[in-house]
């Protein structure tokens, strides 16, 4: 501790350089923390333990092809099945394109059972009203709060995929486990089916809840085997795999993010190494004076490394702080348009990774110039004016 003031004073030797280095480290760490958190958030969607018992059944050819609604009856009859729900992405727009939120046409009856992990609190009477009202809908609390909706509010949706623009009356508001679970609207599938002639008897996908997660592989195989030779063959997959398909539309985002992360880490290393090399080179004589006074090589190395690590840590903390602040802003802006980012937050593992990476950067970037400085003979250092 008695050397701390020495380290701090040395760090502030060139305030502008130190400040610029901390800023550049901060921006880089912010970038890494944000990118890693995006990756973590997206991965969370594709590796959601809550959806372990759910299967998405769709047309084998593509999502644009529909399945017969009657397929649901056969699937429902399987012993491993707890619930089946036709589910159709509607893609309706409320007032303006910027008001994007997820909206689905579903069978209202099994909705709360299918998504029991996500719809964590709701009113039974409200959901019964939803079942009874063909033009009714239920919305998440987050969505209701965003637009100031209440039970009874009429929500006009402009159809973008289907030639149909329903006016839906909110019959219930539920609370979700995560923010993204609350940014969604469900309305009656029958309403869509009755309003769009070519959707009669057809649906984009079935959402199936198995009685147990262990039943899922067997059920997937059985469903696809049953419809293998049908005119509309199915492709069944876990909900996680289904989500992953969507994420793949973003490209190989994981590789992209990891590549950028690696590039940024190398850039941080170079920036810090350059600063520390400059700082230590300027103090060649000073290092020699310290050693002449009796500081050992190890003590000098320790002081210089501590300085480098402290510099990196300050930059790292700044970047982490910025990332945490930005996460909230991102959730409220881009997160509204991209459902996967609605739960965006800087995960603890990411914070730890970023902090460790900056400390390692401080150590690595300082070690070589510091080692060279303390290895230099004292008399040589004293002459280096």
């Amino acid at each position: 501790m008695k050397f701390l003031h020495l380290i701090l004073r040395s760090l502030l030797r060139s305030r502008r350089r130190t400040l610029l280095t901390i800023l550049s480290l901060g921006v880089s760490v912010f970038l890494v923390a944000t990118l890693q958190s995006i990756l973590g958030t997206l991965d969370g969607f594709a590796h959601n333990p809550d959806s372990a018992s759910r299967i998405a059944v769709r047309h084998k050819t593509s999502l644009a092809n529909f399945l017969p609604l009657r397929d649901g009856d056969w699937i429902r009859a399987q012993p491993e099945v707890a619930a089946v729900m036709p589910m159709q992405w509607f893609g309706g727009v409320y007032q303006d394109q910027r008001n994007f939120f997820a909206n689905f046409a579903v069978d209202p009856e099994p909705l709360a059972r299918i998504f029991k992990e996500e719809i964590v609190a709701y009113s039974e009477p409200q959901f019964r009203d939803f079942v009874r009202d063909r033009t009714g809908c239920v919305v998440g609390q987050g969505l209701a709060d965003k637009f100031g909706w209440k039970v009874g509010t009429v929500v006009p949706l402009q159809g973008t995929i289907f030639p149909f623009s329903p006016r839906l009356t909110i019959r219930g508001i539920f609370k979700g486990k995560r923010s993204s679970d609350e940014m969604v609207l469900y309305f009656q599938y029958k309403h869509l089916e009755e309003s769009v002639s070519w959707m009669q008897g057809r649906v984009g996908a079935f959402w199936v809840r198995a009685r147990a997660a262990d039943d899922v592989p067997r059920l997937i195989e059985r469903i696809d085997h049953h419809y293998r030779d049908d005119l509309e063959p199915t492709l069944s997959e876990t909900e996680n795999a289904f989500q992953l398909e969507f994420l793949k539309m973003l490209g190989d985002y994981a590789t992209m993010i990891q590549t950028i992360t690696a590039a940024v880490l190398v850039a941080i290393l170079i920036v810090t190494a350059s600063t520390m090399a400059m700082t230590i080179r300027e103090r060649t004589t000073e290092v020699a004076v310290f050693r002449a006074m009796g500081f050992t090589g190890r003590q000098m190395l320790g002081l210089l490394l501590a300085e480098g690590v402290l510099l990196a840590a300050l930059g790292g903390l700044l970047g982490i702080g910025l990332a945490v602040l930005a996460a909230g802003a991102l959730r409220g802006t881009i997160g509204v348009s991209i459902p996967w980012l609605n739960d965006f937050q800087v995960q603890r593992a990411t914070l730890l990774f970023c902090f460790q990476a900056t400390l390692a950067t401080g150590l690595l970037s300082t070690f070589i110039p510091a080692y060279q400085a303390v290895r230099r003979p004292i008399v040589e250092g004293l002459r280096a004016l």
Binding site: K2, F3, H5, L6, R9, S10, L12, R13, T285, E286, V289, F290, R291, A292, M293, G294, F295, T296, G297, R298, Q299, P377, I378, V379, L382, L385
Partner: protein, 231 residues
């Protein structure tokens, strides 16, 4: 007085590529405890090299050195550093104060290596800054001090750890005549009042005149020794 410094056949060579450049060639020297010696000689005569060897910041290529009761040849780098911290105070031509530390903190620096507590360190720093008459400059940074004041802070730093031996390499080389005289008088007081052994390298005959013995080197060997008559 028993010798505090004993050099036996000290040799030191530097290498420029494969070329060996001998600087000191088998030099014998004894300096008694409490002595005040000036090393003189033309550039390249080996006086700074000898000073560095005696101060333990360089190692001889031949011969043996015993300083303050320790055979320096036998000490490894860490032991030599600990030995320097305990026995040697350095005074440099360019003062070499740490620019980001104030006068107080510069003087405290060598004390950080010891086991003194904060309050004891403070007492010691105040004591030595009092000796060099700089108690009114405690919080001044080197850039806020004159050359003479800087060198006095450097002297305070050198004596803070109460070393037996003070080595000074051209301590007045960067000072005007008045400040140089003041610094030399201060060194003389440290020698006479505190009994510090002082070994200084200088080109300046006036500075050398303060020493009780002048050792003249020539091409790496002892040329002559001149003792100052008692005042």
């Amino acid at each position: 007085m028993p010798p505090i410094i004993t050099c036996r056949a000290i040799a030191k060579s530097y290498f420029r590529g494969s070329l060996e450049v001998p600087v000191l060639q088998g030099l014998d020297l004894e300096i008694p405890q409490g002595g005040y010696y000036a090393l003189m000689g033309p550039s390249g005569s080996g006086k700074t090299t000898l000073l560095n060897l005696i101060a333990g910041i360089d190692r001889p290529t031949g011969g043996s050195l015993e300083v303050c009761g320790h055979a320096l040849n036998d000490l490894d780098d860490d032991d030599l550093a600990a030995w320097r911290a305990q026995h040697v105070g350095f005074i440099f031509q360019n003062y070499n104060l740490v620019p980001v530390l104030n006068a107080y903190e510069n003087v405290e620096l060598p004390l950080l290596l010891g086991s003194l507590g904060r309050r004891q360190r403070r007492e010691r720093v105040m004591e030595v800054l009092g000796m060099v008459n700089l108690l009114d400059r405690l919080h001044n940074y080197p850039r806020q001090l004159s050359g003479g004041q800087e060198q006095r802070v450097a002297i305070a730093r050198a004596i803070a750890g109460d070393p037996d031996l003070l080595v000074a390499d051209e301590p007045t080389g960067a000072l005007d005549a008045a400040n140089a005289e003041e610094v030399m008088a201060l060194l003389e007081r440290l020698n006479q009042d505190l009994g510090k052994t002082i070994l200084l390298v200088t080109h300046d005959p006036k500075a050398a005149h303060h020493a009780r013995v002048q050792i003249h080197l020539e091409k790496g060997v002892l040329d002559r020794t001149v003792e100052r008559n008692a005042p």
